[in-house]
């Protein structure tokens, strides 16, 4: 049921409530059972996000705060490093199509239920269980420009030894290394989403297409892909939210936001401002910007997340 449908049912619930003592009890118990989760989310999520909005208009230092209004935002957007940070976020978006397309392709291959597909599915999904800190440590070994670096020895062994890129060492390439690592990490999750989507497609449609003489490529483009649209958008949005709001641990260990502001994204900027520089007001202002960004991106999810039809 979508949120809208749930809202449409509201009058019914109201009528039921008036009808009988049992309905009145249902109403009471409903409220009672909602209380724990409402108290938890209210006190530890909704109040803090409200405070973030309030303090975003102040010069808060953690103890005292003075209202400075929209000047806080004007000041933030006029800071050159903040513009760099927003640009980094924009660049991150470029990784999303790749983070969606690669697992989509592999999901197509697995969905033929080729021998051993379950094994491959488990293996590809496994990185989901590994923490960003561990992934970051391994990524640093991978991109290490020294002789022990995995990428470097890979290039050496494939006859490309003349080229020794040091992605993590330069301001304009560190983010690329973060993006590559990100694509690797979300591969499994997106693949699982697509496999689930493909399993909802009726086998009869494929059989009918085969009878009509459609080749496997035609089937892919004309049947599978259109039916998967919902899942593709879902994976796209989830990946984008991850890229914007879940890479803190990866960045702090892998690059610490650097060199310079080269790999500082908005979420890392917030942490830096607040907890390294004790500039809580600026952190809150940037926090609101992140909130608005993520919220705008996730709005279509409300429509996609249908519990039943």
């Amino acid at each position: 049921m979508t949120v809208q449908e749930a809202a449409a049912e509201l009058p019914n619930a109201r009528r039921r409530a008036r009808r009988s003592p049992l309905a009145a009890q249902r109403q009471r118990m409903g409220i009672l059972f909602t209380l724990p989760v409402a108290a938890l989310i209210g006190s530890l999520l909704l109040i803090p996000i409200g405070q973030t909005f309030y303090y975003s208009f102040t010069n808060w230092d953690g103890f005292t705060s003075q209202w400075i209004g929209f000047a806080a935002y004007r000041h933030l957007f006029n800071t050159p490093e903040f513009v760099t940070v927003l640009e980094n976020n924009a660049v991150m978006v470029l990784a999303i199509p790749i983070a969606v397309a690669l697992p989509l392709g592999v999901a197509f291959l697995l969905n033929t239920h080729i021998r051993g597909w379950r094994f491959f599915r488990s293996v590809f999904f496994l990185p989901t269980a590994v923490s960003w800190v561990v992934i970051a440590f391994v990524a640093r070994r991978f991109f290490d420009p020294d002789k022990q670096g995995v990428l470097r020895s890979l290039l050496d062994h494939t006859g490309l030894g003349f080229w020794h890129p040091d992605l993590l060492g330069h301001e304009h390439s560190a983010l690329l290394a973060v993006m590559i690592t990100f694509v690797w990490s979300v591969f499994g999750t997106n693949m699982i989403i697509f496999l689930a989507g493909m399993s909802t497609i009726d086998q009869e449609i494929y059989d009918a297409a085969k009878v009509d003489g459609a080749g496997s490529f035609t089937v892919l483009v004309r049947i599978t892909f259109p039916l998967l649209k919902r899942f593709v958008s879902f994976a796209f949005i989830i990946s984008l939210i991850t890229a914007f709001s879940a890479l803190f641990s990866l960045i702090i260990v892998m690059t610490n936001g650097g060199p310079g502001y080269g790999s500082t994204t908005l979420e890392f900027f917030i942490y830096e401002k607040a907890f390294t520089e004790s500039n809580f007001g600026v952190g809150a202002t940037a926090g609101v910007v992140l909130f608005v960004l993520v919220f705008a991106v996730s709005m279509p999810l409300l429509r996609l997340l249908r519990s039943d039809d």
């Binding site: 409903g30 909602t34 530890l44 803090p48 590994v130 689930a196 249908r306």
Partner: protein, 282 residues
Amino acid sequence: MSALEWVERQRGDVWRRRTGRALTYLVLFAVTAIMLYPFWLMGQMSFRSLPQYYLGKGFSLTTWHDLFAALPIGREMLNSTLITLCSIAVILAVSTTGGYALGTLRYRLSSLVFLIVVCSMMVPMQSMIIPEYINLARLGFINHYYGAIAVYSALGAPFATFLMTTYFRRLPEDVIEAALIDGLGYGSVFFRIMLPLAVPAIATVAVLQFIQIWDDLLVGLLFLQTPAHRTITVGLETIPAQHFQNFPMEMAGSLVSALPAVVVFLVFQRYLIRGLTMGMSK
């Protein structure tokens, strides 16, 4: 089409199918190598001493000795386990009751509450973590297990409640009505009927949250700053600062910290898959 042509064409088809399959396996094994390589790297490097690492060969247990000497691994694993399990317990308690209220009882305004739950799912952690930190610091919650447990529970509760609500909504109304006719109240319906029916959804929430909380760094970094309360993920993050460029130790620590979540993943993978796609597929 003559018979001969037909045979020719069939032969072509077989050949095409065979190359197709070979290519598929080629791609799948290549991806397997890319996905498993980090694990192999961690294992291999952790069994080398630092000089052996620079040499690129050799076998030694020095790194493992050093790791256990440098970090209170046992303590940190215990901290992680305790915090993860307690947070999961809180999340399950509030999400099953909340899911029952919002998915089954559906009282007046419950759809509004559900909308708020869905919206709070989308609040990025960094946007609320500053006031959260200041608030809990004022209450004296920093460097106590319960502070971190409170934050993890609040962060996990919205999605868990969403999952539970959609799950309970799908259970048929007749079951509840039959129980009510038998004289059960709404409270006992929850404990005696709904909760046992919800075991698969409970498993899904538990596995998802286990991996999320075990692997988290930021909350641990802010709310558990003393070594005695640190989780294994936070302890792991301190290795580069304490043992500069001791890469084998980083790898050994990574392996230890990743192991529990990987085991949970391998055992309960089924539930994890369901959780990721719940609300999407039928």
